[in-house]
Amino acid sequence: MGTNELTGMVFNIQGYSVQDGPGIRTTVFLKGCPLRCLWCSNPESQTTPKDVLYIRAKCVKCHRCVNICKNGAISYNPDLEPEGYVTVNHEICATCKDHVCVQGCYESAYEDVGTPMTVDQVMEILEADQPFFVQSGGGVTVSGGEPLLSHEFLRELFKRCKQSYIHTAIETTGYAPWDNFKSVLEYTDLALFDVKHMDPVIHKQLTGVSNELIHSNLEKVFAETKTQVVIRIPVIPGGNDTVENMQATAKFMKKIGAREVDLMPYHRMGMGKYAGLGREYPMPPGVETPPAEKINELKAVFESNGIVCHIGGNH
């Protein structure tokens, strides 16, 4: 396939992203992820095909959509939904090409998740935002999902960005074959690299995959590329928020030469989207954003190891 026809399944392009790398950034979110982290705040990004989000807060329970959908993906069952909401079969949505529900709903209660975009189309938006990048030392961050699933598209996009003098960053789980990863890093200025847990067994419980490939990739990024790396740790209460785990992470970072880490406190803002996708929120009920004292305690672990530690991504 020629580079012009390469497309990425984009589910959001967010201007003025201030937490995803230096300066004012435009974050391109790509769909598809091999991980299933329990705390994921973008569950619509996990599957690769197009999907729709059903936003209950906007639904007025008119049930017109039940008849609009030609594929029978939308149904109304008062036993399942006594409050009057409809039920959406997202497996059917994944195979649907036109999502007439999105255009057809008068209340805009359906949103498309995933639009195939070419490199040119994405570049047009990035170049329009360039004055903001120049002013602030910002650039593009590609996030997801796991953007490395679309490594060919990503490599081409970043190559074009470098030709236009746009700073490039990737926000990644690090879970991808090294060759794919490396081909992208050739044009990547900064990698925001997630390290979720040092224990492979717990890592698998939390994310669905083991951490071996991730850790070996991380070592290689330092050993074989010039890309700057910031480690990102989502701080999940009861998941990875122990001093021991942070100590182990700090040790690992020192070993490979990583010097900077962002602690990203868990938040529940993606909760509503699970309902919109017809899924259960996987985090146990009652888990809340960790208190500042807890975060500061963990921050101190890194600082005592001589590692620069930030809370959140806006720095």
Binding site: I13, Q14, G15, Y16, S17, V18, Q19, D20, G23, I24, T26, T27, S41, N42, I55, A57, K58, Q103, G104, C105, Y106, S108, A128, D129, P131, F132, Q135, S136, G138, S143, E171, M264, H267, R268, M269, G270, M271, G272, A275, E288, T289, G312, G313, N314, H315
Partner: protein, 839 residues
């Protein structure tokens, strides 16, 4: 006609390079004394003061036949200054606008159809219920003003000439404030009062009077058909015969002496209070107050406190003459009081903490400014008096950053005090220091919506497009009015009617009728279904704009010419070059002309209407014109499918050229149509204006369904560059790119752009820096005005209760952003708890 440059024209003071030295507690709070005074003021009931109405009615009924308008105004102010109640309270700054802590005057000469019957009178903060006694006075006086007020004089002419009833145009939401909101905004030279003192102005008046040839012949008036050349410095465009100049100058003298007399009354009171006071501390303070009031505004202020007292006296006096939102604002206040502040600090007379508290007491005085509004005005003016205080800006003499310590102190005073007025605004340029801008962010974070930012560069370009003037004047830009810019102290202030952009859509679809009432207004250009192409459709719409913009201009021009019968001698006496020219500013006495023309609201709604019409009817052909007409006429009832398509058509605010280009074309055409005629004195300095205040709400209420999917009566879009709530889905950078395209702010006299932020976006130094970089990119791209509303906990709680009114509230955290109202309740609660005001 006098063309000589007066010796009294202000010389820009030589400025030394400024090194900002500050010494205040950045976490400081309101003092107990100030807090008490603030609470007292904001708890004070709104009261109507009928004394001035009685004096005004009495003077007009006795003297209208023999005295000039200037002299009558001066006589009224003279009597008020002698007869009104004066008293001292806990505020160390003396002077009360009316006989009450928070009282307002009726201005019967504007309009009075409502005062006879109304029992409740709306002030900016609160409503006054009249007593029986007051009612008798109001009714008595009201009889005199029927047929004599501006409205009663303008409307019959409009009716006779165009067959149009102005009130009907207001009722159907075509426009607002054709003839009820006028009255020469004064943007006086505060330096005159602070640095020269009013006695110096009296000497100057005597000098000009000595040169007056009272037998002079009046040259042809431009309104009689002769249009003069461009307005040039010190050249009056509207020559006045010398005996009129004589009257004007006498009126200035009387007015100034009246104000000095009022100040002396306060001095006497304070002296008495000092004599009977036992507490040595209080005694000393009363003595100081007496000292200040017997010195300013007559003589040049010697201290910072005197400068503020002088500033308040002239503002109070001018508001006693004439009150109106935006009238007599503080403008570049820090520049005016800086020399006094500096001297006090150097000589150890004041500390920064004391200066902050004194500034706050002055803020309280500003918050007593108000006036009684007619019912129409009360709908949309609400609590504003728009006393814009300009921070930052350039030093007029050097072109360097003009920011001084007082700018910082004012930001700090407002951070602690949180007063609705004055409105702090920044004249933004690239030399502003990061330290200063960070102080601005600190204030924005409190959720007060201040300061707003205005571009120095655009303001200067705008002025240069219309006026000749020395660079020192051109640089001296102040924010004035709502979101406009002027050269403070040298400019007259006239503005025209307000125009509803979307009403033209209604006329297009209904062939010239107000759909709600079915009544035809103005021309009917034909059945819209005759338009077979987009260009035909646009041309038809254009014709409606052409007719109605012209009507609005004509009514305003007529109104302003009559307004010349209501001069402002006190304000003119302190505005260059009225005294030198011997002319009131309503006659063109000021050096420059504000030229604020017909102000549009609904620019974004109109843009979205055009986008939906072109896309659905002509490009996609998904809705026929017949069906669109039917859908609009039916207010989309039974046509929900059409409304849905309308709502999903391209929208402004997403950097989508389809919508933005259509809007830009309309805005360009509006400006072109608007500028075909000069202002009421034949001056071509007039510019179209674009801001909404709350007109978008008033217009929305009266406008039928529109093709952007909005139903009849729904609110229109706030400001003139903000996106319709919920339609800007691409984030602030895309919104800013759209905003930079829609309206050319050099051609227009104003633009208005409100952006809402959740405070998490401004968290920490990094958050603030990125925010400032966003602002700078907007200004580098040629933007003029931007204002940020940082939402507070109260806002979010209100949004939870009333989601529909808060559809555009965006919350963003790492890798995530969402409209607040679409989040589930638990998450909403979490965000509310994260939004705290302790920074």
């Amino acid at each position: 006609m006098s063309t000589q440059v007066s010796q009294h024209a202000p010389k820009a003071p030589e400025q030394m390079p400024r090194k900002i030295k500050l010494n205040f507690d950045p976490n400081g709070k309101m003092s107990d004394r100030f807090k008490k005074e603030k609470e007292k003021l904001f708890a004070a009931p709104a009261r109507l003061d009928v004394q001035k109405l009685q004096i005004e009615t009495d003077v007009y009924s006795k003297w209208a036949a023999s005295k000039s308008y200037s002299e009558i105004k001066a006589m009224i102010f003279d009597r008020l200054s002698r007869e009104k109640k004066v008293w001292l309270d806990g505020n160390p700054i003396c002077g009360h606008l009316t006989n009450f802590i928070y009282g307002g005057y009726i201005q019967p000469w504007r309009d009075s159809y409502w005062i006879e019957d109304d029992k409740e009178f709306a002030l900016q903060r609160g409503v006054h219920k009249t007593t029986e006694e007051e009612r008798k006075i109001i009714q008595e006086c009201g009889k005199f003003w029927i047929g004599q007020n501006m409205q009663d004089r303008v409307r019959p002419i409009v009716k006779a000439k165009y067959g149009l009833d102005v009130q009907k145009l207001v009722d159907i939401g075509l426009g607002l404030n054709f003839d009820d909101d006028m009255g020469g905004m004064v943007v006086p030279c505060h330096r005159t009062v602070i640095e020269r003192g009013l006695e110096d102005v009296l000497r100057q008046i005597a000098c000009v009077k000595s040169k007056c040839k009272v037998y002079g012949v009046q040259a042809p008036d431009p309104t009689a058909g002769q249009v003069p050349n461009e307005n040039t410095i010190l050249t009056s465009v509207s020559p006045t015969s010398d005996y009129k100049k004589w009257h004007f100058l006498c009126a200035c003298e009387v007015s100034i002496k009246a104000l000095i007399h009022q100040a002396e009354r306060y001095a006497a009171l304070a002296r008495e209070a000092a004599a009977s006071e036992k507490d040595p501390c209080k005694k000393a303070e009363y003595e100081e107050m007496a000292d200040r009031c017997s010195w300013v505004p007559a003589k040049p202020a010697r201290t910072f406190k005197e400068a503020l007292q002088a500033q308040w006296f002239i503002t109070m006096g001018d508001w006693q003459n004439q009150c109106m939102t935006v009238h007599h604002a503080p403008m570049r206040f820090p520049q005016y009081v800086y020399a006094n502040y500096k001297k006090d600090i150097e000589e150890g007379r004041i500390t920064d903490e004391e200066a902050i508290e004194f500034l706050q007491f002055w803020f309280l005085k500003v918050n007593t400014q108000n006036f009684v509004m007619n019912p129409e005005l009360a709908i949309w003016q609400q609590s504003r008096i728009a006393q814009q205080l300009t921070l930052g800006g350039l030093d007029p003499a050097t072109g360097e950053d003009g920011t001084c310590e007082v700018d910082y102190l004012i930001l700090e005073a407002q951070r602690r005090a949180q007063c609705p007025e004055p409105l702090l605004s920044v004249m933004y340029h690239n030399k502003l220091s990061p330290k200063f801008l960070m102080e601005c962010v600190k204030l924005i974070r409190t959720g007060i919506g201040q300061p707003s930012f205005h571009s120095q560069e655009v303001s200067m370009k705008r002025r240069l497009l219309h006026e000749e003037g020395p660079i020192e004047d051109i640089r001296d830009q102040a924010v004035a009015g709502c979101v406009q810019s002027i050269i403070g102290g040298k400019t007259d202030g006239t503005w025209e009617a307000r125009f509803n952009m979307t009403k033209m859509m209604e006329f297009f679809f209904s062939n010239g009728r107000d759909i709600k009432t079915g009544v035809a207004y103005g021309p009917a250009y034909g059945d819209p279904c005759e338009c077979k192409t987009w260009e035909e459709c646009y041309d038809r719409l254009y014709k409606y704009y052409e007719y109605w913009i012209d009507i609005c201009r004509d009514i305003s021009t007529l109104e302003w010419n009559m307004e010349r019968d209501h001069p402002t001698p006190l304000g003119s006496a302190v505005t260059y070059d009225c005294v030198e020219r011997g002319m009131d500013m309503v006659d063109g006495g000021a050096r420059y002309n504000w030229g604020d023309g017909v102000c549009l609201a609904g620019s974004v709604d109109a843009t979205n209407c055009l986008a939906a019409m072109k896309k659905l009817i002509f490009d996609d052909k998904s809705v026929s014109m017949e069906k669109m007409v039917a859908a609009i006429t039916a207010n989309f009832v039974g046509y929900e499918d059409v409304q849905n398509l309308c709502k999903k058509a391209p929208k402004y605010g997403n950097d989508d050229p389809f919508a933005d280009e259509l809007g830009r074309r309309l805005m360009r055409d509006y400006a072109e149509i608007h500028n075909r005629k000069p202002d009421y004195m034949g001056r071509w300095t007039i510019t179209p204006s674009a801001y909404s205040v709350t007109a978008h709400w008033a217009f929305g209420k009266k406008t039928w369904a529109t093709p952007d999917g909005r139903k009849a009566g729904e609110c229109m879009t706030d400001a003139t560059l903000s996106a319709t709530p919920g339609t800007d889905v691409k984030g602030p950078t895309a919104l800013i790119r759209s905003a930079l395209k829609l309206i050319d702010p050099v051609v227009y006299g104003s633009t208005h752009f409100n952006v809402k932020f959740h405070p998490t976006a401004l968290e920490g130094e990094a958050g603030a820096q990125k925010f400032l970089q966003l602002v700078k990119t907007y200004f580098d791209g040629g933007g003029y005005q931007i204002q940020f509303n940082c939402v507070t906990q109260e806002t979010l709680r209100a949004a939870q209760k009333d989601p529909d009114s808060y559809r555009d509230l965006i919350v963003r955290v790492a890798g995530f952003s969402a409209y607040f109202i679409t989040l589930c309740p638990e998450v909403q609660d979490e965000i509310v708890s994260r939004t705290c005001q302790t920074w």
